[in-house]
Amino acid sequence: MTSRDSAVRICVLYPELLGTYGDGGNARVLSRRLAWRDIAAEVHTVGAGEAVPDSCDLYLVGGGEDGPQTQAARELQASGALHRAVDRGAVVFAVCAGMQILGSRFPDADGIDRPGLGLLDCVTMRVDRPRAVGELLTTDATVTGPGGSTVPLGPLTGFENHAGRTVAGSSAIALGRVEVGEGNGDGTEGVVTGRVIGTYLHGPALARNHRLADALLGLVVGADLLTPLDDADVEALRTERQAAARRDRVGSGHDSLHRRRRP
């Protein structure tokens, strides 16, 4: 087993603006999964109005409400630090409103198009349909790992709660294909541009998808340091949630409100 000299630096951006749906848990998951493998981790939390470091290895952007979302986009644009970090090869994982602001444009609280950060090749637009609220499940997903390898993630599971439809551009690829739920709105879920990954999955996403968590860490520390962990609790949750999502789709179960069926 190889080792690593410096601590993995994880930056949580604006949790008070973009942390409404428990997405702060993603940082807890990543730092625990490193600690359990004796890899040092530092979590830097950056509040609104504070300087964003450009030297971290991995940036987390969560979901949030419309007003704070616009403020976060404005501050990140003005700072430029996230762009510099991505140019250096940092990994970014962004959820929901966080994904929307990393695209090239997104609608604000009044439905007016705002410029995004352009770190993800996608645009988000407002559409005339009810908010997508419910379990979101994809078919088996993969991401590209270090050296161009293909990393299998299994089905991705989470809870979505968003308005707007996200369309990936030609240089982006989707994270997965939707089995249950809305996702981007065109049968795909999530957007990947290089080492910047966006998703509509809350849950938080990395708690419910441990292979995705390890895939992000693999991009930073290399896959060979990521020894297996006891993920029995996560596997039990994943089994239960996949069954729940499929049950909701056919309209039974107590939480079958708002379910939509994909062709």
Binding site: Y21, G67, F159, N161, P204, L237
Partner: protein
């Protein structure tokens, strides 16, 4: 409760009386057919024949509305107990905090009776408009049931609008919740209560200017505008509630810091309605349980205490009430509509505080909880039923024989256990 000592007030009209009678008939049928207490169903039926019924039933009454994300049921109960010291009081019961439940509570009572009404935070604007309540008590606004309810900021905006459109004589509000302060500060008379609220994560962005709010040890202010902590006239410490400098020593029948705060709201409300402080405080102190919260009961022969916690703010208060480590604990999580369909708020709760205890996860979302506990490094097990969960706790080596096992549950899980084990005291 009789209202015979009160002067007669013009009562509701004939149509309102018919609607109330119909509502009670429907409620009776609902009870007979085993569909619960029936009060909400009855209220709904009554509102259908007389949409203006809430307005008619409110006319000529002293009305106190209590709204919040957390603590409204308990505080409503404490206010009713404080006011009962010198007048007849009617109040709505747990879960019946929307228009139909309120109509059902008011319907059978004499028109002059003072009403203390718990109001769902989303229903406050409508209920305030219809009742023209003279007193509104606002405890807090935090995240709850996000996927069902409006987002918390738009809720604060709706509160602010309704207080401007139908200004109550007095608002009694939390000085330490920026969203509540922003909603209430335009009202003509506000009595501010110092709460030392610990859950601040929902309030960091300023509702006025979206700027950043800076929190100090005993104060807060927005860095972008003039929104800041108002000077409270009501404070609470370990032994007393202090109103305008006057100390009322009080020993509560309810546990925990948060209930001292709820009691301060209740005593301040009673004081503003001219109830003498001493009997009001006695009334508050006599409350030992509210709709099953804190009830000690038995589950298959083992002694269990029922605790309710619905959301991150509620959990941080509830965790303080648990028997100290290493006592094992049962935690139960559901995610039905009334709970919010998405339990990702579990990650906003510092379950790390439970390290050193053994926790049994149960409820419909036990696996989400187990994953959360795994990452919090809390030793745990998963139980498919509450019976099994209690049995596992009782069998743990850290469990002292005869000790009360705490069972902390979120809303629908709590209701299930209360119905099953609560008895009817």
């Amino acid at each position: 409760m009789s209202a015979s000592s009160h002067p007669s007030v013009t009562g509701p009209g004939a149509r309102a009386r018919i609607a109330v009678a119909l509502g009670r008939a429907v409620a009776g049928i609902s009870r007979l057919t085993g569909r619960g207490s029936g009060s909400v169903i009855g209220g709904r039926a009554a509102l259908r024949v007389h949409p203006g019924l809430l307005r008619a039933l409110s006319a000529g009454r002293e009305i106190v509305l209590v709204s919040a994300t957390n603590g409204k049921t308990t505080t409503t109960r404490l206010i009713a107990a404080a006011l009962a010291a010198d007048r007849a009081v009617v109040s709505n019961s747990l879960g019946a905090n929307m228009a139909a439940g309120i109509v059902a509570a008011l319907g059978p009572t004499a028109p002059g009776t003072t009403a203390v009404l718990e109001v769902d935070e989303r229903w406050l604007p409508g209920v305030l408009r219809d009742t023209e309540a003279s007193t509104v008590v606002l405890l807090n606004l935090t995240r709850d049931q996000l996927d069902r309810s409006q987002e918390v900021r738009s809720l604060a905006a709706a509160w602010r609008r309704c207080l401007a459109e139908t200004p109550p004589h007095t608002v009694i509000a939390n000085a330490d919740d920026p969203l509540v302060v922003w909603a209430a500060r335009g009202a003509p008379t506000v009595i501010w209560v110092a709460t030392a609220q610990r859950w601040l994560a929902d309030a960091v962005g300023c509702p006025e200017c979206t700027g950043r709010i800076e929190f100090g040890p005993s104060s807060w202010h927005c860095t972008g505008c003039d929104l800041s902590r108002p000077i409270p006239s009501v404070t609470v410490d370990d032994t007393a509630i202090v109103i305008d400098g006057e100390r009322s020593p009080i020993t509560l029948g309810l546990p925990g810091r948060i209930n001292r705060v709820n009691a301060a709201f209740a005593l301040a409300t009673a004081h503003s309605l001219a109830v003498p402080l001493a009997p009001a405080a006695d009334g508050i102190a006599a409350v030992t349980e509210v709709a099953g919260r804190y009830r000690v009961t038995t589950v298959n022969g083992r002694t269990v205490r029922l605790l309710l916690a619905k959301n991150p703010a509620g959990w941080h208060e509830a965790i303080e009430l648990l028997a100290p480590a290493p006592a094992p604990t049962v935690v139960s999580i559901n995610s039905r509509i009334a709970d919010g369909l998405d339990p990702s708020w579990l990650w906003d709760v510092d379950f790390e505080i439970l390290q050193g205890r053994f926790v049994v996860a149960t409820g419909e979302r036990r696996h989400d909880l187990a994953v959360r506990l795994r990452y919090a490094e809390v030793d745990h097990a998963v139980a498919d039923t509450v019976d099994e969960a209690v049995r596992i706790c009782a069998g743990r080596p850290e469990h002292r024989p005869g000790a009360v096992i705490d069972l902390a549950a979120n809303y629908t899980a709590f209701q299930q256990y209360f119905e099953r084990f609560g008895g009817d005291r």
